[in-house]
């Protein structure tokens, strides 16, 4: 939890906000500082000017009547405590002659000879506000008069300096506030950011742990985080689909390989137990070899199918005469049908031209012929046709009088490893029609299944009509 609660400190958003808050605080501090310096300086200059004027006045008195006149002037000004200025006249013996200060300020003068100091009210001789005692700030100047007299002239600048220092405090407080607000905004913004990112990260973590269900929350605001969520979710959808397909294929492979493997195991086991009977042992071994061939066949079919589906197989597409393909396969399958007690017929239209891979198209056609032979009961009929359809496509079709495929299952049978219940007992990998589908796809063609011509009587089903439909080759240039 500690990690989570401070995680926002490391975020880019927090750092950005903090940086801009600091820059803002600094710039306001500099601006206000400039105002401060200007007004504080002006106040001091005004005080100094007033002091200079009074020094001028006292100088005139001294020129006119010497120390005594000066003394009198000061006494007059300070009597009753209403003086604007602070005075102190000290004789060469160090004794105070007149003035409203208790003593010379004990501070070092600045470069212009001004002294800034604090003094304590009440004033020396009955000043304003009797009984009040407070430390006040004043400013003044010491003048050395001839024959060892010292004269101090000063001015109370308490209100001014207080104003200035208050101004300084305000400036500092404002800058600190700006900084604090910036930090708070940064925390707020980055916390929100971190919370949203955390949700996405949590989804990623759960997916990594093996759960493909969760999805990143969407705000549909179209901002960059929402876009990230969208892309992330799309990626997860794709991964999930692929995983499901792989799992399904894997399960199906395991299931389909288990049967022949178990059979083979039993046969080998049997062969081991056939004591002495060499012939029985040999037969068992031969059947085991046949089982192995079946397994190899399934593996090869999976391999070809995966390659076709992955689009890796760059089928060697050439211009070819479909009648050659149909003719060769009719010749290959006719004796097979005859052996199985099936009537075989072929109607092949010549003079057509298509673009295709001879091996792949032959394989697809052989697969549906295989199925027709396999599923049609004795006494039935298998017909191979090649024709140009009304809409100018090239169609190979194989019709049989077998049980057919129910309408509801026609989409399903082309999926990998799908075998209808009534075919489970017959040999086959369940990959044949998937391969046909993949091959027609590679050729931009279609694979169609429909009801055949058979009659539902005497053990004959409605039959099946399987068709490979390919585009015609464009006219040769």
């Amino acid at each position: 939890m500690a990690r989570r609660s401070t995680a926002f400190l490391r975020t880019t958003a927090f750092r950005q906000t903090l940086l801009s808050a600091a820059l803002f605080a600094l710039s306001s501090f500099v601006t206000l500082g400039f105002v401060y310096a200007a007004s504080a300086g002006m106040m001091l200059r005004r005080a100094d000017a007033a002091i200079n004027e009074e020094v001028e006045v006292l100088d005139q008195r001294f020129q006119a009547g010497g120390i005594a006149t000066v003394n009198r002037y000061i006494l007059q000004r300070t009597v009753g405590g209403g003086a604007d200025y602070l005075y102190l006249l000290i004789n060469p013996n160090g004794r105070t002659m007149s003035g409203n200060l208790t003593g010379l300020p004990n501070v070092q003068p600045d470069a212009e000879g001004r002294l800034q100091f604090t003094y304590r009210r009440p004033l020396a001789s009955g000043g304003v506000g009797e009984g009040e005692k407070d430390d006040r700030t004043a400013r003044g100047q010491i003048i050395n008069l001839p024959s060892g007299y010292y004269l101090f002239v000063g001015l109370d600048v308490h209100e001014e300096t207080r104003l200035v220092s208050r101004m300084l405090n305000t400036i500092l407080a404002a800058s600190a506030l700006a900084l604090a607000l910036g930090v708070a905004a940064g925390i707020f913004v980055s916390r929100r950011f971190v919370r949203r990112l955390d949700r996405i990260n949590n989804v990623a973590r759960r997916v990594r742990a093996g759960d493909l269900q969760p999805r990143a929350p969407r705000t549909y605001s179209g901002d960059e985080l929402d876009e990230l969520s969208e892309n992330f979710n799309n990626m997860l959808d794709r991964v999930e689909a692929l995983m499901l397909r792989m799992r399904h294929t894997g399960d199906s492979i395991a299931h389909d390989l288990r049967t022949p493997l178990t059979r083979m195991r039993n046969r080998l086991d049997e062969a081991l137990r056939e004591d002495g009977d060499l012939e029985a042992r040999e037969q068992a071994l031969e059947r085991a070899v046949a089982d192995t061939d079946e397994l190899l066949g399934i593996f090869n079919a999976i391999l070809s199918l995966s390659r076709l589906e992955a689009g890796e197989s760059r089928a060697s597409i050439v211009r070819l005469d479909p009648a050659d393909i149909a003719g060769d396969l009719a010749e290959l399958y006719e004796p097979v049908c005859e052996d199985e007690g099936l009537a075989f017929d072929s109607e092949i239209q010549s003079g057509l031209c298509m673009l295709g891979d001879r091996g792949l198209v032959s394989q697809a056609l052989a697969n549906i012929l295989d199925n027709a032979v396999k599923y049609t009961p004795e006494g039935g009929a298998v017909t191979l046709r090649l024709r140009e359809t009304g809409d100018g496509m090239i169609e190979f079709s194989v019709t049989d009088t077998g049980p057919g495929v129910p309408d509801a299952d026609r989409d399903r049978v082309v999926q990998r490893f799908v075998r209808l219940d009534n075919s489970r007992t017959l040999p086959g990998s369940g990959l044949g029609l998937s391969l046909v589908q993949a091959i027609t796809d590679v050729h931009n063609g279609r694979f169609e299944l429909a009801e055949g011509p058979g009659v539902v009587a005497d053990g004959h089903g409605p039959g099946l009509r399987a068709a490979l439909v390919f585009p015609k080759a464009p006219a040769e240039t």
């Binding site: 190899l296 090869n300 010749e331 399958y333």
Partner: protein
């Protein structure tokens, strides 16, 4: 026969080697293309069995180098890739036959023996003879004893292949590839049906059978 197996998978190599030895052949093994090339150049082999994917030097490169040296030793290429294009590529590189993994050993043996036979200086033969069966390749006729046997064109090609490889085991896949030019295995026993048709024409009426079924492997035509 002396056969060189060039295969990086030691287990597969020793399985092939054992099988070939049990069939009466001498088999050596090289673990990659470079070693294979060296051994093939150093000794005179009847057939090379070369895996396609190998470290250091792949099978096609090795065969290519041999062919550039005018070495005509027949080569059977083994490959886990099984599409037509790969086969074409393999044959273009100088391979004489192409076998896709996984395969049955009987298939490999039949192909190796068929390749070795091909090496015999093939004079243009116009007549094939097995026992009292005679095929005239020019007149396209087949005689058994004094009787002419009428065959369909495909049956003629089937018998021609069997006669050219008489005494050897010929597998169903080999027949599909060489006689029909199909590189896939149909589910139904199409080849068996065609063989039995051929058999009914060339063997059935005669006391001695020439066309034998070799269980678990294929067929053999032998006098």
């Amino acid at each position: 026969m002396r056969i060189l197996i060039v295969e990086d998978d030691r287990e597969a190599a020793s399985y092939i080697r054992k099988g070939l030895r049990e069939s009466g052949h001498v088999a050596d093994h090289a673990a990659d293309g470079e070693e294979g090339l060296e051994m093939a150049r150093a000794a005179d082999y009847d057939v090379l069995v070369v895996d396609r994917m190998m470290p250091r030097m792949d099978g096609l490169t090795m065969v290519n180098s041999l062919r550039k040296d005018e070495d005509r030793t027949p080569v059977l290429i083994l490959s886990a890739l099984g599409e037509v294009d790969d086969r074409v590529e393999g044959l273009k590189a100088g391979g004489d036959d192409y076998l896709v993994k996984p395969y049955a050993f009987a298939e490999l043996l039949a192909r190796v023996e068929a390749l070795a036979r091909r090496r015999d200086p093939e004079t243009v033969r116009t007549k094939l003879v097995v026992g009292d069966l005679e095929m005239d390749l020019l007149a396209r006729t087949v005689m058994r004893g004094e009787e002419e046997i009428l065959l369909q064109p495909r049956e003629f090609r089937l018998l021609e292949f069997l006669m050219k490889h008489s005494g050897q085991v010929v597998t169903r896949t080999m027949l599909l590839e060489k006689v029909w030019d199909y590189h896939f295995d149909p589910q139904t026993n199409v080849i068996d049906v065609h063989i039995s048709r051929l058999r009914s024409k060339i063997d059935k009426p005669y006391p001695r059978a020439l066309l034998h079924t070799v269980r678990g492997a294929g067929y053999r035509l032998q006098a």
